[in-house]
C-alpha cells in the first residue's frame, strides 16, 4: 500500500516541486501577471497568454517549457531515460514535437523562425492611422528623439552583458513588444522570456512611467503650451486635397525608402506598412484587412504570448541576468521618454512656434496608450488643451523609429 502511495507521489509534480521550491516563485510570478492582466487590465491581450504560458511551462513533468538552445544550437533533454543533446535547428519539426512537446514545436516553428513578430506588425499596421502624422509631419521627428533610451542603455549594458545581450536589452526602450521579440530572437534568443515580459510589462506601465518622467523633467509652464493656440498663431500652410490617395501612397513610399536605407528593418516596417496599405485601400481589400487585423493577428498573439511565456522556466528566469534586464529595461524606457522631451525643449529654444513637451514624451511606440496618457496630463494642467492628435504624430513615428533602431542593432550585432 505504501508503495502505491509512493508511486502516486512520484507521478504527481509534488516531488519535483518540493525538491526545487523555485517553481513556487514562478507560480507566484504567473499569478501576479495574470492578476495584472485580468484585474488591472494591463495589456490583457498579451499579458494573459504570456502569464498562462509561464504557469504551464513550470509544472515538472508537463513538458510545456521551451528548451533553450545553447550557443551551438544544442538542446539537452531526456529520451528513454538517457540524456541526449541534439542540434535543434537540424531536427525536423515532427521530431521536435515528438521529443520536446507541443510548446517547443510552436516556439521553434513560429517564434524562433521569426515568423510571428512581423505578422503581428502587419496587424498593428492595419490598426494604425497615419492621418494624424501626415497632418503634423514635423512632429514626427520626436519619434527619433525617443529612441535615445535604446542607445543610452546599450552603452551602460555593454559593460555588464555581451554586445548581443546588451542590444536585446536596450531595444526594450523602443516600447514595442514585437520589435523587442524580433530583435532578441536575432541577437540573444536565450533572453527572450525575460525581455518579452519586461517589454510588455513596461508598456502596460506607460500610464505610470510617462507621468513620472514628465514630472521630473517638465515645468508647469511648458506643460500648459496649448498646441491649438500655437497653430492659430502660426498656422500650418499645408493643404490636403486628397487624403485618401495620400494615405495609400504613403506606406508604399515609406517601405521603399526604409528598405533602401536599413534593409534589416524591412521585415518589421514592410509588414507594418503592408497591413496599413490593406486598410487604406478600402473596400477592394477589406477582406484581407479584416484577416490581418482580426483573425491572423489574434491567432498570432495567442501563439506568441503562450510560447514566449513558456520560455520562462526556472532555469531561464531565476538568475541575475533577468534582474539586470528588468532594471535595464526600466532605464531604457525612462531614457526614451526623456530623450523625446529633451528634443522638444531644444527645438523650443530655436522656434517661435512652441511645442508641448508631452509631444516628445510620446515618441515611444506604445500606440495609442502613450498619446492617451499624455493627453490626460495636458488636460490636468489646462482643461482646454487637447494634445492627442499632435502626440499621435510622434507616437506613430516612434513605431517606425524603433523598427529602424532594431534594424541597426541587428545589422551591427547580429
Amino acid at each position: 500500500m505504501e508503495n502505491v502511495f509512493e508511486k502516486i507521489y512520484q507521478m504527481t509534480a509534488f516531488s519535483d516541486i518540493i525538491a526545487d521550491p523555485r517553481f513556487l516563485i514562478m507560480y507566484a510570478l504567473a499569478f501576479l501577471l495574470l492578476y495584472l492582466g485580468i484585474k488591472k487590465e494591463f495589456e490583457p491581450l498579451l499579458l494573459v497568454p504570456i502569464a498562462f504560458g509561464v504557469l504551464i511551462a513550470n509544472f515538472p513533468g508537463g513538458g510545456m517549457g521551451v528548451l533553450g538552445a545553447d550557443g551551438d544550437g544544442l538542446v539537452h533533454y531526456m529520451k528513454d531515460g538517457v540524456m541526449v543533446a541534439k542540434n535543434v535547428y537540424e531536427m525536423p519539426l515532427p521530431e521536435i514535437a515528438h521529443d520536446l512537446g507541443l510548446m517547443n514545436y510552436i516556439y521553434y516553428a513560429l517564434i524562433k523562425s521569426g515568423l510571428l513578430p512581423p505578422i503581428i506588425f502587419m496587424g498593428v499596421g492595419a490598426l494604425t492611422d497615419f492621418g494624424p502624422m501626415l497632418r503634423n509631419l514635423k512632429l514626427a521627428i520626436f519619434g527619433a528623439g525617443a529612441q535615445f533610451g535604446i542607445f543610452a542603455v546599450l552603452l551602460v549594458a555593454s559593460q555588464f552583458f555581451t554586445m548581443q545581450e546588451a542590444g536585446s536589452l536596450a531595444i526594450i526602450g523602443g516600447a514595442d513588444g514585437p520589435t523587442a521579440i524580433f530583435t532578441t530572437l536575432k541577437l540573444a534568443p536565450h533572453l527572450l522570456g525575460p525581455i518579452a515580459i519586461a517589454a510588455y510589462s513596461y508598456m502596460a506601465l506607460v500610464p505610470v512611467i510617462i507621468p513620472l518622467v514628465v514630472k521630473l523633467t517638465c515645468r508647469k509652464k511648458e506643460l500648459m503650451i496649448n498646441m491649438k493656440e500655437q497653430d492659430k498663431l502660426y498656422p500650418n500652410k499645408q493643404e490636403f486635397k486628397n487624403m485618401r490617395v495620400l494615405k495609400i501612397v504613403f506606406p508604399i513610399a515609406v517601405t521603399t525608402i526604409v528598405a533602401i536605407i536599413v534593409p534589416d528593418a524591412v521585415a518589421l516596417v514592410g509588414m507594418l506598412m503592408f497591413g496599413n496599405l490593406l486598410k487604406e485601400i478600402g473596400a477592394n481589400t477589406s477582406r484581407l484587412f479584416d484577416a490581418a487585423s482580426n483573425g491572423i493577428m489574434n491567432a498570432a498573439t495567442i501563439f506568441l504570448g503562450l510560447s514566449v511565456g513558456a520560455t520562462m522556466t526556472v532555469e531561464a528566469f531565476l538568475n541575475w541576468t533577468t534582474i539586470g534586464i528588468v532594471a535595464g529595461g526600466f532605464l531604457a524606457f525612462g531614457f526614451s521618454i526623456f530623450g523625446g522631451i529633451m528634443l522638444v525643449k531644444i527645438m523650443n529654444l530655436f522656434t517661435k512656434k512652441k511645442i508641448n513637451p508631452l509631444v516628445g514624451a510620446t515618441g515611444l511606440s506604445a500606440v495609442p496608450m502613450a498619446s492617451r496618457v499624455a493627453n490626460d496630463i495636458a488636460l490636468k494642467y489646462d482643461p482646454k488643451n487637447h494634445v492627442l492628435n499632435y502626440c499621435m504624430s510622434s507616437n506613430v513615428a516612434g513605431v517606425i523609429g524603433s523598427a529602424v533602431a532594431a534594424g541597426i542593432l541587428i545589422s551591427f550585432l547580429g
Binding site: 501626415l134 529612441q147 535615445f148 555593454s158 486635397k241 515609406v254 536605407i261 517606425i400
Partner: protein, 84 residues
C-alpha cells in the same frame, strides 16, 4: 572598454540613422502631399439628391451618402432614398 567604445559608435550611428530616416519620411510626406495635391486632387462630389426632402432630412441623406462612399470605396452613388 572595447565594448564601451563600440557601443558609443553604435549610439552615434543608430541615432543618426533613425533621425535621417525620419527626416526622409517627413520630407517624403511633404513631397507626396504636393504631388497628390497636383495630380490627384479630390473631385467635387455632387450633393446626393434626396428622394423627397420631406421624407429624408438632408443631413441624414448626406450621412448615408458618405457611408456608401466609404463602403464602396467611392464607386457607389446614392440615387434614391426611400423609407419603407
Amino acid at each position: 572598454m572595447g565594448n564601451f567604445i563600440y557601443a558609443l559608435e553604435l549610439m552615434g550611428i543608430g541615432m543618426g540613422t533613425v533621425f535621417v530616416v525620419l527626416i526622409l519620411v517627413i520630407e517624403l510626406g511633404k513631397a507626396l502631399i504636393a504631388i497628390v495635391n497636383k495630380i490627384a486632387p479630390e473631385e467635387e462630389k455632387p450633393q446626393p439628391k434626396a428622394a423627397t426632402p420631406a421624407a429624408v432630412m438632408p443631413n441624414v441623406a448626406q450621412a448615408i451618402a458618405q457611408a456608401v462612399n466609404v463602403i464602396t470605396g467611392g464607386k457607389g452613388k446614392v440615387d434614391k432614398i426611400e423609407k419603407q
